[in-house]
Symmetry: C2
Subunit: 425 residues, 2 copies
Amino acid sequence: MAETQPHVVILGGGFAGLYAAKTLAKAPVKITLVDRSNHHLFQPLLYQVATAGLSAVDIARPIRLILKKQRNVTVLMAEAERIDPQARRVSLGKAGELSYDRLIVATGATHSYFGNEAWEAHAPGLKTLEDALDIRRRVLLAYERAETEPDPQRRQAYLTFVVIGAGPTGAELAGALSEIAHHTLVSDFRRFDSKQARVLLLEGMDRVLPPYPPELSAKAQRQLEKLNIEVRTGARVTGIDSGGVWVGEERIEARTVIWAAGVAASPLGASLGAPLDRAGRVKVEKDLSLAGHPECQVVGDLTSFEQDGAKVPGVAPAAVQQGEHAARNILRALEGKPSREFRYRDKGSMATLGRKAAVAELGKIHLSGLPAWLAWLMVHIFFLIGFRNRFVVLFEWAWAYLTYQRSARLILHDSPREPPGGPGS
Amino acid sequence: MAETQPHVVILGGGFAGLYAAKTLAKAPVKITLVDRSNHHLFQPLLYQVATAGLSAVDIARPIRLILKKQRNVTVLMAEAERIDPQARRVSLGKAGELSYDRLIVATGATHSYFGNEAWEAHAPGLKTLEDALDIRRRVLLAYERAETEPDPQRRQAYLTFVVIGAGPTGAELAGALSEIAHHTLVSDFRRFDSKQARVLLLEGMDRVLPPYPPELSAKAQRQLEKLNIEVRTGARVTGIDSGGVWVGEERIEARTVIWAAGVAASPLGASLGAPLDRAGRVKVEKDLSLAGHPECQVVGDLTSFEQDGAKVPGVAPAAVQQGEHAARNILRALEGKPSREFRYRDKGSMATLGRKAAVAELGKIHLSGLPAWLAWLMVHIFFLIGFRNRFVVLFEWAWAYLTYQRSARLILHDSPREPPGGPGS
């Protein structure tokens, strides 16, 4: 490896970071990609892992496996703790330091509790595989506890599931939770009927799926209600504890609450010294670079980028486009050309709600119900990374469709793990 | 449900407990099956989950799903804490108490460190899905740490894997670890060659696979050595710490150590008040019942049962046979007939070591190499519970065979989880 090649450091192996690395496959650069987990995650299907429809392995793949053949990339499993744009250095904590010539920051976002951080313990969010497995464990354990709980009122609290936030993730989660209650678990329990379970979807705004056109929001709400979900719009959550949720003055007793209401940017963005928006996202120049630091670009969910008066949304296609764009700007710089402005091409968006229930906005074409669901299915299979994954997920879905079963119904780590070095399990 | 039906309580949903419940499917009894986890586990393939070849979901299935249609069974996810044979009661801790007319105790075994319990933290054993995921995480993390470790000696310690105990589980684990080093991870790392990894298999006795005939042990050792495993027999481990293993006076620097050397019976057996053998297993009468308590039978790995001067081994076929036998004794008692003595029918045993490497003892027929491997493959696919699992595992194996890939290479829960109620992730 010629040491004269410029060193490109990419922080984050999500959609933005991974596609940036791939775009530089043939470039005369040395790339180091850093991620704190060992896998790239197909986040659009994460709710399926949380609701036991898919296994972790179906939607995740080791980053170094994806990039195995790209010999100009070194993958490090480490956490970037601080960036020093002046010195062009990234601190990786115990794993040392990296100097860079070019930097792409793509460390994404996590959930935000809008200042109520104490809620997190009772209402986990859904961003990582660990989050998904945690939610799955809570949901399945709630049914198990209901079977051993003699008191009817306490049992009903175990059988009440509240999803806070009716964006695409919240709506998808609610749909899957309802299917679990009304199909998957029917006849599994002897002391109660799983159809007693209630699924509530709470939204602070006046309609579900707020980023969608109002007409599709209305259609989505009707589909959700048909799936036995209690949809409440204009519902402001004022408290969450281990026993339930407060909506204004009303108390909802529920042992399982899931947070799908807000995101905050990765705290790494703050160390760049650039202006941040309210969600902590980094405001960038039109070419995705940091003001005063053309060698540093910020992409994906961490980026605050305005176009035609609106923010580019934090969705996978935007992350892919930004990652590729940043990489192409590096290629242009190598050739002595100026960088180009980024422009987001919105190819549409879709959300699934349940079997044969979905909405899709594809430019001027608005779909709902079965056609939207089929479109969703095809797009999500197509973009899954790896033939094996595509095949297995297709098989799992066909199997689930025919049998109403969810194969990944395993409760793991009921009790908290001992710290390493402590007594084992 | 007529309250006059006798109540059969089964503790444990492993092979013994599950087959006992199934044998009573049409009996006029009310059954309660209690297990502390929600799934039945196909333990013979657990090493594949530990070595990232299979996912947890491929070899585990919810007990209540398996027994969904058997309406005389109630499944409780709870832990049996104590049995009172005089009062015929089982205490389930927070989940209450159960009274029984007939009891089948099938809570199995766990690892034993022969009094060196401090070793457990550094050398986990392999009995549960959680154990398997813990070992997988340690193995994969060791390679990740090696990639960020600049010191060659410390790096080699990350790349040294020690398996203690060369019974079937230890030999299978060593074989899979070697395949990971010499095939799966080749070209994945940039700072070292995965073939630098060493896999050591330590056995205190004078040959590997001690329960097998000496001739097959010799063949197994040759196959293991061909797979680049350093086999050491007569190796007595005298110490284990976070940095390695002591064998007599020799120090082996290794960051990953796996314990496959000994089992101890579930502590629940002690509360029965019956004599125990050295491993804590309950000594039973010839009909598997507790002396003086014909209504209580002990089956599976928890049982100490001698036949023709030898102990019945703690293997899946013995557990299945004992579970079915205990259930049939209950059926006979319902008809007023005396119980029958148990007799183990040994149909043979087999252990796989790597691709096309295995040994099998089928009565007088001894196989090794490819024929043994094919026999192993067929038997293990055939006995997997559920069509979906069989299909998916077959697909995973074919895929792994062709590509040398192990699809389940995900590192989850790097840091220990917060206790429930504490701050979330």
